[in-house]
Symmetry: C2
Subunit: 250 residues, 2 copies
DNA sequence: CGACTAATTGAATGTCATCAAGAGCTGTGG
DNA sequence: CCACAGCTCTTGATGACATTCAATTAGTCG
């Protein structure tokens, strides 16, 4: 079971999509052998990103999509007054870059929250071969719809007027995304800082910190720094709906 | 200069895109005559929508995009607890339906806020001809990116922690969208209720009402029911940044 | 070990939600 | 034409909850 460096090279360069764990979530879904190879030719593997490294920056044109292979990305935008707003966190299998699809400069910046790796898909090349492979074209649309809905989920969270409901929805969403990847939906590793979570939810860091503490004392979560374990999904779901579960404080 | 009923008919049925006021914002941008005709064949004109009429409903599959030709649409989604969250307001030239692109059922419901009219673009047919017209394919991507960025702007608004900043951003955004259509950016006709505005911004109706009153007394707006005139763009911009312009209250 | 950052916790203020009442507009029918 | 009902919107008083300011603890890196 020893794998020589050449084999690794080969699989990385040639058969990236074929061997990728996220095939079913990503562009290649439902493509057969021949078409998969054609997609492979378009997809450019990128060097791994170091924690803190920026993938693309707002204001720059870079018409490409990026598939997260491992790690976590954070997208954010800068406001007129210099404040930043975190727009999203992106896990393996998810795709970023839709805000700079063609010509348009990006409105957001994407940064690695931990050491990560991504595939780069130049939009122009993708469009070319998608024009010849209807199933791929469909998959592109499907993924766009998926990411669009994810954006809307952000608005739903921010629309909740109780801070607890926002955090509960956030945690529930993360849990669901882990389930989608066949990972344990109860154990979350938050690769983002409390500050990032707070900003993402439209709160301040102290509030988020207090909420984590409260969830822990309620027995809903076990919190150890950025490692979070969900102990009571039902209670979390209730809190997500704004039910102030006051009886549990007794 | 009399136009017979037949001429109207003809222009409505055959030359919809050619004569549409929103050409430059919409799919046909940068298409020449021949290609424009091919697009015309795909686009289905729809009967006008009456105020309150639903264009599509969440949970249903309906793989089509809709271009707003006149009027205003509201998209919203229903939460687990039965509450609804308003996701967006859509003005002429803008496009809705991205959340139900392929196969997937819609996550949102689209409703006319006033008598409106839309063009329906079946995604499957659009994909077919876009595969043959690279410029159209590009334009599809461009528009998706645009609507994606609009979604993100919603998150930016909701992220502001002062109610005034949210409303100011909202009004500023509406103003900019009117400017983009060569309309007077100072006069807004809010076709949505205060309740809708409040929900969209994650506030309650009373707060929104108070804010409008305050903006009026500050001399920033002239508010007459749903007719709003922006008197002081600079002040509005300041308020959008969370600057509590307390000196103006003196 | 010491300096730095990240996160937690406490106390006080302020903003927004809630509850409640009233004003203004719209449409209907007598 | 006016009266009435129903709705949207406004305005006021109160209180809850999140922010702010401040200090402490925990964890990380040089």
């Amino acid at each position: 079971m020893t794998s020589s460096p050449e084999v690794v090279q080969l699989s990385e360069v040639r058969a990236s999509c074929t061997q990728c764990a996220w095939q079913t979530l990503c562009l290649p879904a439902s493509l057969d052998g021949t078409n998969l190879e054609r997609l492979d030719e378009v997809v450019r593997k990128r060097r791994p990103l170091r924690r803190g490294e920026v993938l693309y920056r707002e204001g720059l044109r870079h018409a490409a999509l990026f598939v997260v292979r491992s790690g976590t990305l954070k997208t954010s935008t800068t406001l007129a007054d210099g404040d930043t707003q975190v727009l999203g966190f992106h896990l393996p299998g998810e795709i970023v870059g839709f805000d700079g699809l063609v010509d348009e400069p990006h409105h957001s910046t994407a940064e690695a929250l931990e050491d990560s790796s991504v595939c780069e898909v130049p939009v122009a090349r993708l469009a070319e071969i998608a024009a010849q492979i209807p199933l791929l074209q469909q998959q592109v649309y499907r993924i766009m719809g998926r990411e669009f809905s994810r954006e809307q989920m952000h608005a739903v969270m921010m629309g909740r007027r109780h801070a607890m409901a926002r955090l509960a929805l956030f945690l529930h969403g993360l849990s669901e995304r882990r389930r989608a990847c066949n990972h344990d939906p109860d154990s979350l590793h938050l690769s983002m800082s409390r500050q990032d979570v707070a900003n993402y939810l439209g709160l301040v860091i102290e509030t988020v910190s207090r909420l984590f503490s409260r969830l822990q004392s309620l027995g809903v979560l076990a919190v150890d720094r950025r490692a979070v374990r969900i102990l009571d999904h039902a209670a979390l779901a209730e809190l997500a709906q704004g039910e102030e579960d006051s009886r549990a404080t007794a």
